[in-house]
Symmetry: C2
Subunit: 621 residues, 2 copies
């Protein structure tokens, strides 16, 4: 006798598969490419894969443990406990589905499961009657008990409930955040559910608008952090907060206003209503985090450098003045220490190093350089006051990576090849150009191991004339190398790489490399034990690995092991917005990652001095 086959149709997508008699709905879903939410893998233990049978026969066993009898009578069953007995039509609610998501950030892909802690549920609440006199909120909570147990509700949300219920004829949409009912809307508005992830950088603030029902990114918008007007780096901002009248208040207002501007831009771009934005997540360094929350940052800047808060805060948006849904929430990424913030937590989260057996190393190069090393058993972080050189600060002709900045320098056989951003006439030199310039002069013997730029007369004979001619003496900054002569610059002046610039580069890379060596020492490992190096941060993306290794900014480790992970801070903020389990992971990372204060270690000065030397690069002649 031929095996009986049944047609199973899944709604709302209308996808059908044919399966044999007795196959479970869970298995049929698998064949149709639909992945159920399930912690137990379809063994009837977790109760997550609830489906509604719309038409057809089935036999179920064991749903009673998870579903009330009246639900089962209405043909709600666990997919893994229901055997198909005829052609059948099955609706799979969004709450029973698992979405595999990909976040793209500067070409880097992160995979995650869509499970935001903001959920919207459309529910048909039974009307009160003389036989059913439950209070309004009791009847609502009972109606959503399959989605959330014992939710809490704030008084102001409770106040709107009786009216919303009756105006909507007891059909309403409930907005849930974690274990709280945060808003109530008339009728079915469950399709409009948005959140925004913010990366609050010292210099740039970026917002990503996400659809929390699909995980899709709908719009991106960025602005310069307006606090820049009160200081370029975190220390000057902390001083501003501490010394100016209303300083902290002003800085907080500035960042909140910037965030509100970005919100308006994002919702306009995507053509949605900002009342349907229920949550924002933010990441940033510890100082940005404190200034945004209005917490006094003064002790971050003073020995022993402690912040007010490490863990994540979940605050009503109105308490911060952030304009989203009136009852919306703002969740900050947790920090690690005063100088290792939520952005580093995001880097760890995005790199996955906290779950790895092998030792990994991550470096986020911004104004400061934050380093993390370790694996799932132990993670250690430190911060080095490293970055400003690579952002153009303290470099004589330094500038940010914008139009007219020299970003590539290559010394060829007969010429010095220069590239500028957008091929404009050169104005100055940015971080990658600086690394290139120093590396190329190293390789060509113009800068020696100790970082000295040789004078024309000190240069070995083999140096070609077209290079020798570029060596000049600068009154203020010592021996210098002409990168672009005045005839080809926008300023009408020569653009030089000076001896001072080389020293600044040594200080910056030396601090980072010393940090790297100390982390290795604490973990008791060697270079070869590190299986991957992750480079995060906008600047990191553009570094050329061999050049960075040449000047000793990165350790001499096989180039394939070095991976760029893009704007991991932004990716981290998105990840915790889209997946509540990742928020939990971020909290664990924050709690468990150790912080080492380099400056108090006795070995730091020695390591630092050593690390300022340039390595004897294999490619150097």
């Amino acid at each position: 006798m031929a095996e009986r086959m049944f047609k199973v149709t899944f709604q709302p997508e209308g996808k059908s598969v044919f399966v044999s008699d007795g196959t479970t709905i869970y298995e049929a879903g698998g064949e149709a490419g639909i992945i159920f939410k399930s912690e137990c893998g379809g063994h009837g233990i977790c109760g997550s894969c609830v489906v509604n049978i719309m038409k057809g026969d089935y036999k179920q066993m064991g749903s009673e443990k998870f579903l009330p009898e009246e639900e089962i009578n209405k043909d709600s069953v666990l997919a893994c406990r229901a055997n198909i007995k005829s052609d059948i039509s099955v609706e799979i609610p969004i709450s029973s589905r698992l979405f595999k998501l990909k976040i793209l950030t500067k070409g880097i892909e992160y995979k995650l499961e869509l499970n935001p802690d903001i959920k919207k549920i459309f529910v048909n609440v039974p009307k009160p009657s003389l036989e059913d006199q439950r209070s309004d909120i009791d009847r609502l909570i009972d109606s959503i008990k399959n989605h959330i147990k014992n939710p809490i509700i704030q008084l102001d949300v409770l106040k709107i409930l009786p009216d919303k219920l009756r105006k909507g004829k007891f059909k309403i949409t409930v907005v849930i955040e974690e274990n709280e009912i945060i808003d109530i809307e008339s009728e079915d508005q469950s399709d409009r559910n948005y959140g925004i992830a913010f990366d609050i950088g010292t210099t740039t603030v970026v917002g990503y608008l996400l659809d929390l029902k699909t995980g899709k990114q709908l719009a991106v918008s960025s602005r310069t952090n307006p606090q820049t007007s009160c200081g370029d780096d975190v220390i000057t901002r902390i001083n501003y907060a501490n010394t100016k009248k209303d300083g902290l208040n002003n800085l907080q207002k500035q960042i909140v206003s910037c965030i509100n501007d970005i919100i308006i831009e994002l919702v306009n771009k995507a053509n949605i209503d900002k009342k349907n934005v229920y949550k924002i997540t933010t990441t940033g360094n510890t100082t940005m985090n404190h200034l945004f929350l209005g917490l006094d940052p003064i002790n971050i800047a003073m020995n022993p450098y402690v912040g007010v808060v490490r863990f994540n805060m979940n605050v009503r948006s109105e308490n911060l003045g952030v304009n989203i849904n009136r009852y919306g929430k703002v969740c900050t990424m947790p920090n690690i220490a005063g100088f290792v913030g939520g952005d580093t937590v995001a880097v760890i989260l995005a790199s996955g190093m906290h779950k790895s057996k092998e030792i990994k190393f991550a470096i986020d190069i911004g104004t400061n350089g934050e380093l993390v090393m370790g694996n799932k058993d132990r993670l250690i972080s430190c911060s080095t006051a490293a970055g400003p050189a690579f952002e153009g600060a303290r470099i004589v002709f330094g500038m940010r990576a914008s139009n007219g900045a020299i970003d590539i320098v290559k010394i060829k056989k007969n010429e010095v090849e220069i590239n500028t951003i957008e091929n404009s006439k050169a104005i100055g030199i940015c971080g990658t150009g600086l690394i290139d310039a120093v590396a190329e002069l190293r390789k060509n013997g113009i800068i020696n191991d100790s970082g000295k730029m040789l004078k024309k007369e000190e240069l070995p004979e083999y140096i070609p004339d077209f290079l020798k001619e570029r060596i000049v003496k600068n009154e203020k900054y010592g021996t210098s190398f002409i990168l672009v002569d005045k005839n080809n610059t926008r300023t009408g002046k020569d653009i030089l790489l000076t001896q001072k610039d080389v020293r600044e580069t040594q200080l910056a890379k030396g601090a980072m490399y010393a940090g790297y060596n100390i982390l290795k020492k604490i973990l008791g490992i060697k270079d070869e034990d590190i299986t991957e190096i992750f480079i995060a941060g906008a600047f990191g993306n553009y570094i050329r690995k061999t050049q960075a290794k040449c000047i000793g900014l990165l350790p001499d480790i096989s180039t394939e092991k070095i991976k760029f992970i893009g704007n991991a801070a932004g990716a981290g903020a998105k990840m915790v917005l889209l997946t509540k389990e990742l928020k939990q992971e971020a909290c664990e990372i924050s709690k468990n990652t150790e912080y080492i204060e380099l400056t108090v270690r006795k070995d730091f000065q020695d390591e630092f001095m050593d690390a300022m030397y340039f390595p004897t690069c294999k490619t150097c002649t």
Copy 2:
């Protein structure tokens, strides 16, 4: 060899006892009359009985499971795991003690254990250093981890932390409410911890100021509920809220302002600072509860009579405009249904009927009469629109129980004995006087079983003349009995008990008695199954049991079984303020007590008609 005895001195009370070698500190405490907090009864399982050894030798085993090593090294141990090995001095912190408390309300005593959910902890927080760079809040939370695990903190409280820590040189007092840090104070202020319990009656608001460290009541203050100006009873107030512009808002403002006035009076009386009042609890009927919280009460008054909320709300005082500590909390007693409120929950809690094996019956006679019947397995409640007659409403010469009200009526052999409140000249008749008058006329054959007041000519012969002479015919209200003649009244008019008043009395007592019978019917029990009747409410206190039984207001049950439990609503509000476990019990009572809507029961009209008859009283001639 004689047994070695050691002297054990307990601090701070300085009490000493002598015990034999090896006795545990827990046992020694018992001998000194000090009761430890302990869920396990001194078996080393719960970790609650932590003490500090100040001087002397001891041997401890098993404290490691509950205390960090550094604590044990500082001589913190579990009292039940430490054997005394020399003369010894032991400090028992307040957190390890159990206080047995008694609350007195109108002479009724309730026993409970002092364990408020507001706790103040003085703590010496380790100062930050380069070796210990924990954030301010992390170091605080770690410092109090023996008292509370993973507390939450609101952003505005977090904001004051860095300054409080440093101004107090890292010695601060933390105020805890449940699992939240609600305030931070410099230095040791742990001795100042107060709360206020409010009974928000429709007519009268009473506040009780309690010391949460001792459970002692420091002051009482009461005021007329200012909402009275917008209506005498709950229905007129609901109408006011519903029909007047800003009606709900006005009513809320009135009650909040009344509560704030009482708070000022209380703190002045006790000479304390209101910033040290961290919590208020409130009880009241469902409408008072809604008006105080600003929740729309309209649906309570309209079929099918549902409120917005049943469960208790815990709200920041500033959100309601209540002036206590800036971060203080207001906790409302949960309700049962639209017409059975937190005051009834309090009655159940105070009577203990929810924990009883035997069947009990409780009745709270106010403007409405709330009835509860049952035991620990099942409790049923209902409400009857019963009361106004007993508060003087709808009674021709009715008045509240104040100066000049007839409160006792007794018919003696040759005279009618009348008592008025404060022995003033009579103005009218209050509830107890009404019951007396009707009962006495029943006993003397002037009112028959059906409630008819016999005319002079209908009276049997044996009725003495001094009574016959008092029967008059009133044009408007029918046959009437002169209680006080016009020569002896303040009004210069006869004060009458009219036929109409008897009918009102029948309606009121009939409704309550019908409710009583229906509750019995649902539980399937008889009068004799009820082991106790509790009468709550200010009015209830003054009822004379035999008179109430005579007119059928109370069932014909042995008088010893009838107990007055005073202002149980106020007692309930105090109990939940002083003992967090009782708050939990109140929530369970609210959730588990069934509510019966009498008016929809088919048998109600029949029961009501039957119950309006007067019983054939045993004492009647």
